[in-house]
């Protein structure tokens, strides 16, 4: 069965000065998708992520979230529409506890108004309780129950990544974008991460797009892979197709000088 696409990006481009960092990048992501975005260093993967999440405004192209045009909107609007992400260089609220970090994600859906907060209305207490309960549940799901009251900045690298994912899940997203989630993790942490991502996609029904350098991980995890080289999509398909594609091999291994000269 196929659902309506959650993210539909059409021909996204962005220029920084004279440099075209990403050139007409397109993506269709559905809730059942577990897609990967790979490419050599500097190919524009993170920039593509930033375009999709509203951190950068595209010079050209359009983004539709759930069929709604969200081009040029700020990140919190896209988060509201159902997009959540993590960052390559982890960005936690370091001075807050794990629970508080994840509860921040609940602000979007259940946050009370200033008035009901100051008046300590029953609606405020209800929403606080709901935020806390949902956050606790998510923290348990990602396996951080033991660290729930610890300062997020004091956790190990692997646990910090999980907090980031938990915080993203607390916004109740329809699609989750993970920017190099396995970077800096040891093999057992990576294995746990893979299982978590599969659960997010399979059990929670959230569409996932992963940027990753670890080729073995991407090939085993993702069902569909996009390859980006010098800002352009050079290939999209199943892992086996991608691995056999000459354009991909060229992107990663380069071409011989002579052939390049002929081309």
């Amino acid at each position: 069965m196929t659902h309506e696409p959650i993210i539909e990006a059409k021909g996204l481009s962005i220029r920084f000065g004279g440099l075209v960092a990403v050139d007409s990048y397109s993506l269709v992501l559905r809730s059942e998708d577990l897609a990967g975005l790979i490419g050599p260093n500097g190919a524009g993967k993170t920039t593509a992520f930033n375009l999709l999440t509203g951190v950068h405004k595209p010079s050209e192209g359009a983004i539709l979230i759930g069929g709604q045009d969200m081009t040029g909107q700020k990140p919190h609007k896209l988060a509201q529409a159902g997009l959540a992400r993590t960052f390559q260089n982890i960005r936690l609220f370091a001075d807050l506890t794990v629970l508080e970090n994840v509860m921040c994600g609940g602000h979007l859906r259940h946050g009370s108004s200033l008035f009901s907060t100051l008046a300590y209305l029953p609606a405020f207490r209800r929403s606080e309780r709901q935020i806390a309960q949902e956050a606790t549940k998510i923290i348990r799901e990602v396996g951080l129950a033991d660290a729930i009251d610890r300062r997020a900045g004091d956790l190990s690298y692997g646990d910090q990544r999980r907090v980031e994912i938990a915080r993203a899940l607390a916004t109740q997203p329809k699609a989750l974008l993970l920017d190099e989630p396995a970077a800096g993790l040891n093999p057992s942490e990576t294995q746990a991460l893979v299982e978590l991502i599969r659960r997010i996609n399979g059990e929670m029904g959230i569409g996932v797009l992963v940027v990753e350098h670890d080729m073995r991980l991407v090939m085993s995890l993702c069902r569909r892979i996009q390859v980006l080289n010098r800002g352009k999509l050079v290939c999209e398909g199943a892992p086996a197709e991608v691995q056999a594609d000459p354009a991909v091999i060229e992107a990663y291994l380069g071409t011989r000088r002579q052939r390049a000269a002929h081309a």
Binding site: T53, V55, K74, P75, H76, A79, Q80, A84, R85, F87, R91, L92, F93, A94, D95, L96, L99, E100, M103, C104, G105, G106, H107, L108, R109, H110, G111, S112, L114, T117, L118, Y120, F124, R125, S127, E128, R129, I131, A132, Q133, T136, R140, A145, D146, I148, D149, R167, A168, A170, T171
Partner: protein, 350 residues
């Protein structure tokens, strides 16, 4: 152990095995402080009473600034500007109407004929401060970095300039004197309690977490669905509201306001208070504000008898350097002391 057994979610039962429900404990605390204050004022001079009132107002100012700056990660220096606005607005509203006609000839008729009591005047003053903050914030808060510090510094100068030159309404450099002494230690105490209560309530709520998230990591907060521009605006405007009310109460306490009453020096002193207390800490700000007010006042006779004017300012600055060197996160960090949190918020919810 608070972290074990997260399955037992005991909420609504008002804090497990504690001897009183949270609202009652808070009421008890305020009642005890009121009695203590009553005993102090009963036996003390007018001078000491006023000093304590100023101390309370300073504490409220420090708490409201730590709300804007410490919790939300901005750097506003605008408190003196908002205080000046609040002081003038409230003073003009409460001034006896028979004197207004001659003293402040440029006032519009409907204001000149007003004889407001202190409460409505301070509320209007607070709203005026909040409105100015909104107008300043609209362009500035979209930018990150220290634009806000520069803009609010400019605001102090602008407000001062307006107060100096708008003779028909502010009486220029002479300022407004003979403001009715409507405020007193109880007003100051009530205002401080109200400020602390409001900031505390927000800090331990979703809104407060959104503010601290904005402080910790702007981009991550934005991507987590927090409208960071709106959150900063909220923190800035609410802080300005409290500052303007403080200015109004102060003017009605010392019965005078001039364009230079609240200057950049005050902005510096307030920043010192929140840095010493721990940026973002309510309890820390209150303690630091009390301490600095008392120390500066104690040094006054020393300054006068030895002719060392400005010494208290030097000592305040030195204590700032010392704190930054020895305990850079201040007295309480950005958190509240555990026993205070436990007392006011009850047991941890989960």
């Amino acid at each position: 152990m608070s972290k074990s057994a997260p399955e037992t979610i005991t909420m609504g039962t008002s804090g497990g095995g504690q001897w009183l429900a949270a609202p009652l404990r808070i009421a008890l605390l305020i009642a005890a402080a009121t009695v203590a204050l009553w005993l102090v004022t009963a036996g003390s001079s007018a001078y000491l009473t006023t000093l304590i009132a100023v101390m309370f107002i300073n504490a409220a100012l420090a708490v409201s600034l730590t709300f804007t700056n410490g919790m939300t990660g901005m750097f506003s220096l605008g408190h003196p500007a908002f205080m000046t606005i609040g002081a003038y607005v409230a003073a003009i509203l409460t001034f006896p109407s028979r004197r207004k006609a001659s003293m402040l000839p440029d006032l519009p008729e409907f204001i000149a004929s007003l004889d407001l009591s202190l409460l409505p005047a301070t509320v209007i003053a607070g709203l005026a401060g909040a409105l100015v903050a909104l107008l300043v914030g609209l362009p500035v808060l979209r930018l990150r970095g220290h634009y806000l510090a520069v803009a609010t510094l400019g605001l102090i100068v602008i407000v001062q300039g307006l107060a100096l030159n708008w003779n028909g309404i502010t009486r220029g450099g002479a300022g407004l004197s003979g403001i009715p002494r409507l405020s007193n230690i109880w007003w100051a105490f009530g205002f401080m309690v109200l400020t602390v209560a409001a900031v505390w309530r927000i800090k331990f709520s979703s809104l407060g977490r959104a503010m601290m998230a904005t402080r910790e990591n702007d981009l991550a907060a934005e991507c987590t669905g927090i409208d960071t521009v709106r959150i900063r605006m909220l923190a800035f405007v609410i802080g300005a509201f409290f500052a303007a009310v403080a200015g109004a109460l102060m003017a009605h306490l010392i019965s005078v306001v001039t364009p230079r009453t609240y200057s950049i020096v005050l902005a510096f002193n307030l920043v010192v208070m929140i840095v010493i207390g721990g940026s973002g800490s309510i309890v820390g700000s209150v303690i630091a504000a009390f301490a600095i007010t008392i120390v500066s006042e104690l040094l006054r006779p020393v300054e006068e008898s030895f002719g060392l004017y400005g010494m208290s300012q030097v000592i305040v600055a030195l204590s700032l350097i010392l704190v930054l060197y020895l305990r850079p996160r201040g007295l309480c960090g950005s958190d509240e002391p555990a026993f205070v949190k436990h007392y006011l918020n009850g047991k941890k919810h989960l």
